[in-house]
Every structure is written in C-alpha cells, then in structure tokens.
Subunit: 329 residues, 2 copies
Amino acid sequence: MTRQNQAPTMKDVAKEAGVALGTVSKVVNGIPVGEEYRTRVENAIEKLNYRVNSYAKGLKSNKTYIIAVMMPNLVSPFFARLTDYINKALTQRKYRMLFYATDYDPEQEQEYVILAEQQKVDGIICLSYNPNLKVSENVPLVSIDRYFGAAIPCVASDNYSGGQLAAEKLIENGCRNLAFMRIGSRLTNEPNKRKDGFVNTCEVRGIPYTLKIVEDGTPYSAFEDFLQEHIKEGKLEFDGIFCVTDSLAHQILVSLDRLGIRVPQDVQIIGFDGAQYFGDMEYYCSTIVQPLEDIAETCVNMVLQDRSAKVPSLVCLPVSYAYGGTTRG
Amino acid sequence: MTRQNQAPTMKDVAKEAGVALGTVSKVVNGIPVGEEYRTRVENAIEKLNYRVNSYAKGLKSNKTYIIAVMMPNLVSPFFARLTDYINKALTQRKYRMLFYATDYDPEQEQEYVILAEQQKVDGIICLSYNPNLKVSENVPLVSIDRYFGAAIPCVASDNYSGGQLAAEKLIENGCRNLAFMRIGSRLTNEPNKRKDGFVNTCEVRGIPYTLKIVEDGTPYSAFEDFLQEHIKEGKLEFDGIFCVTDSLAHQILVSLDRLGIRVPQDVQIIGFDGAQYFGDMEYYCSTIVQPLEDIAETCVNMVLQDRSAKVPSLVCLPVSYAYGGTTRG
C-alpha cells in the first residue's frame, strides 16, 4: 500500500498555493482569510485533489463524528430496518455509522464496546443481549430494548401497551379464549412486557388465556405440539393468539395451515413488530407495529445530546395496530 | 462534552507506572520490553482504564482498519443480507465497517465517496447507481453489480448464467411459452444480463418468449395489465414466467391470485435473488439464488489486497436454483 505516500498533504497545498501552512489550515477549517489567499488555496486544493485528513481533524477536535451501532445482525428485518433508520438519523446530523454485528454473543458485545471506545467514537447505540455489559463513562451509550439501570438511557417501544392492544383487538374482534406464545431469551428485557400487558387486559376483561412460553433454542415443534394438544374434535380451543413476534406468528400460521385450522375464521392471529414483505410491502400478519423511525430518532438525539443534560433512564414510544389479514379487522 | 479531558493519556500511564513514555508506547504496540516494565505499564493501564487512541494510531500507521460500505438502503432484504455478510467478512479480518446509505441517489453517492476518502478509510465497497462515479486512485474501491471499466474491480453474481438457468428450469418443468418481466434502471449493470441469458436459452431451445420490461418508476399495474391482456378465455398464454427479482415475482404472484390463475398448475414462476421470509426462513418463491456470502468474501478480499497485485476487472460468482413452491420442481 503506497497510497498514503502519494496523497498530497496540507504542506503540498501550501507550497502549490505559495502561502503559509496556517493559511491552508484556516481555509480548510472555515476560518476567514483574505479573498485572494482563499482563492489560491482553493485552486491548489482542486489541482492537487487534496482531501482533508478527517483523521487528523478528529484527533484535534476530540470529535470523530462517528457513532458505533451494535445489532445482533442485519438478516432479521427488524434489526435491518432499525439500523437503516438509525443510519438515516445520523446522516441527517452529519454523523457516520460504524456498524458492529454481535450475533447475540455477550462476550463479542463487550469486546465491541471496548473497540468502539478505542476507535474514539462519539457514542454507542446498542441492542444488547449482555445484561452485564460494562461501558466506560467517557463514551455515551444508548441502549435499545434492554434496561441497564438509571445511568444508561434505554429506548424501547411501549411493549406493555402493545400487549394490551393485542388483547384488546382480539377481544374486540370477538375472541373469547386467548393464547399467548413466546420464544425468547430468559434475560430481563423490555419485550418481555408484551406478555404482561396482554395478561393484564385479559384479566381486566375477564377473558381466559393460556401462556405457551419457551426459551431460546427450543425447537419450534414445541408450538405445533402445543397447538395439536389443544385441538379437540377438529376444533382449536383458542379463537385468538397473540405471538411475541411476527416471525413466530408466521410459523404459527404455517402450522395452523398444516393442521387444517383456518385463519381468521377459526382463529385470529396478531404478531408484534410490523414486519413487511421485502421490507416495505404488505404486513406478514395483523400486528402491533413498533415505531422504528421514532426509536431511531430518539436514540440518536439522546446519544448526541450534551452530557451535562439530564437524560431519562427509559423512553417508551407508542406502538400502533395494523391489520394484516390474520384477524377479522 | 468534557470526556476527552478526563480520559487518561499515554503520559498519565507513563507517570503512573514510573516509566518513560516510549516504554508505554512499546507495550501498547506489542514491542518487547523487560518483564518488570511490561507488568508496571499493564497495571497502570488497568488502574487508569487507559484506552489506546486508535485514532492517533491510525494517523501514524496510515491505516484505519475501516472500510466504507455503500448500499442504497438496509430495508431491502437483498442489501441488508449482503451488508451483513460483508460486515462479517470484514470483522473476521479485524476491519470495521463504516456504513453509508445512498438511497439510489447518484449525487449522494459521489458525496459519500469523497467523505469516505476524507475519513481515510482503507477502502470502499459500493453498490452504486452512479455510472459516472468519480473515485480517487488513492482509495481502493470494489464495485458490486456495476461495471465501471477495467480500473475498478466489479463483483457480481453470474447473472447471465442465472437467466439461462431460469429458462432451463422452466422448460425442464414442461413450460412451452415463456415470459420475462423486469422493472429496473435503464443504466447498464450486471443484473441486466439476466434477460440476455434467459433469451439466449429460449432461442437455443426454440421456445417462444415475450419480454415485458418497464423502467423504474412505472406503476406496478403495468404488469397486471400485461397479464390481463394475455389471458384468453380464462387461460394465461404463458405457462412460465421469469421475474428479474423475487420482489417482482411476489407482486406477480399476488396479481395472478387476484386474476384466478393458479401457481404452479397454470403457470410456473421463477424469481431471482434467493430472498427468504424474515431473512432466513422459506424462500418467497422458486428462485435463482445469488451467492451473497461469496460475493461479500470476494469484495472484502479484493478491497484489502495489495494494490500492486493485478486485480480482475469483473468477477462473476456462480448462482444456483432453489425450489420455493412456485414451480413443479
């Protein structure tokens, strides 16, 4: 690699323009100089195709205008879309995104946080699966979906209300025997509140409900077995199911089709997330939509804000319901 | 923001350890020093929670270990998954990804290339929609899907073979009257070769075919109108359709359902990309699968390789066929 030797430096520009190094520096940094000097420097910059060394600039100003974003992956449409919005929000503010995929690995996450700090990023936005994540006080961090305590701001959908909304919609559509299905990590995180909200509404409204909750790693067949056990004389006991994610709802829909149970005639299904075919087409199913754009904007605003300002420890953003063909309305 | 003032410097470490600055530098950079000195420096680093300033390091070595990756967005599952693989390939080689979303905007792309160069990235991997993109010779750039001439290496799927394979599969499955459907940019790019390969096989095999090609921005209804025009007495004239992407195939499937044409009984459909539900579940349709992981690995190897080595101008990677329910096999 010889490119750095060839790239013109600020010195080369000064020589070409016949001005002092300080004059070039002023022009590059937007500090006023005499019109003639400015023109000479600009012409020299253009002639030599000189690029400002942001790296050196970052070192001086102690700002890199780079934010590290950590997600498990970009394969899940939820993570991909959220990252897309975060990147948009950063770009609008002239910041850049350094991306890290954690693959749900707590150790990997810890390593990336240290790396990001070494890289002197101006902040970290992180969707973490490491409840013991250690972060330096020097680099602001905003967490999505995982609450680390009052010192670290956490941004999430209003998952509790989402659970309530799902139960309300099913009841409103005539369901009288509900089920909740969940596969997920045992760790405390904001999405766990979906169940709590759902249960709360069922109890307030006096609607019977059954919970089928399994841990990450359990084969999906556990859900199909559960459904099969609850089919009596060709009829599913439940007439409404709330699934913790659209992805699980999709699998449940495939199972129900296989079992000969019709949706939404025999049972209505609501998922959670608001996932769409190919990222921007129809919803996969009727769903509680997470406000991804708002989450992204909020995270970016919080990670960039003045550290002396008081930041809330948890911000929950309102969700909404979208019809996607698997309910009666 | 006061954090940079609080962060310990190499000087602080030297003072704490009671050694010379050069000794700290050696330890940090992995250069051997006496065991006792190393221990003292390491203890001081730990005590002060000192982080190596990669920024300063990058400035010195003229390497940042950062590669800029430019994609139109992360909403499309194709771009998201490709970016995920590129990031994985970079991470394995201890590089980081600085991500830019271009939103298909040629001017935005040009600006980002300049920005990335200013950021002193070690290279750029770019899926571009700007045929006139200007890049500096100082920063290696690898292009995905768009050929910019011999000086800039381009990595793509073997789109021509993919078109041939789609036609062959349809013919093998009994189709005798084919159609090709495409919506896309008028710009020359590698995916355009899908049509050429398809046409080539139809002609070699003596199978009649019809092309329906519209430009970006045309309302989708143009395709549904086209299908309707080719329904005679309730029967679609074509018995096989090759769609330029899975996303278009999906829309065609929705139209056919609306028009009462059964898939795969009346007409068989093959898409292109290999898109999967939720990124990793079933294929949306029978499809020609792009080797995204291989594309990512190849791009990363090429962008990092020694610039004095000869690089090929175009690398086409083999595609494969996957059954996804919309064909007879």
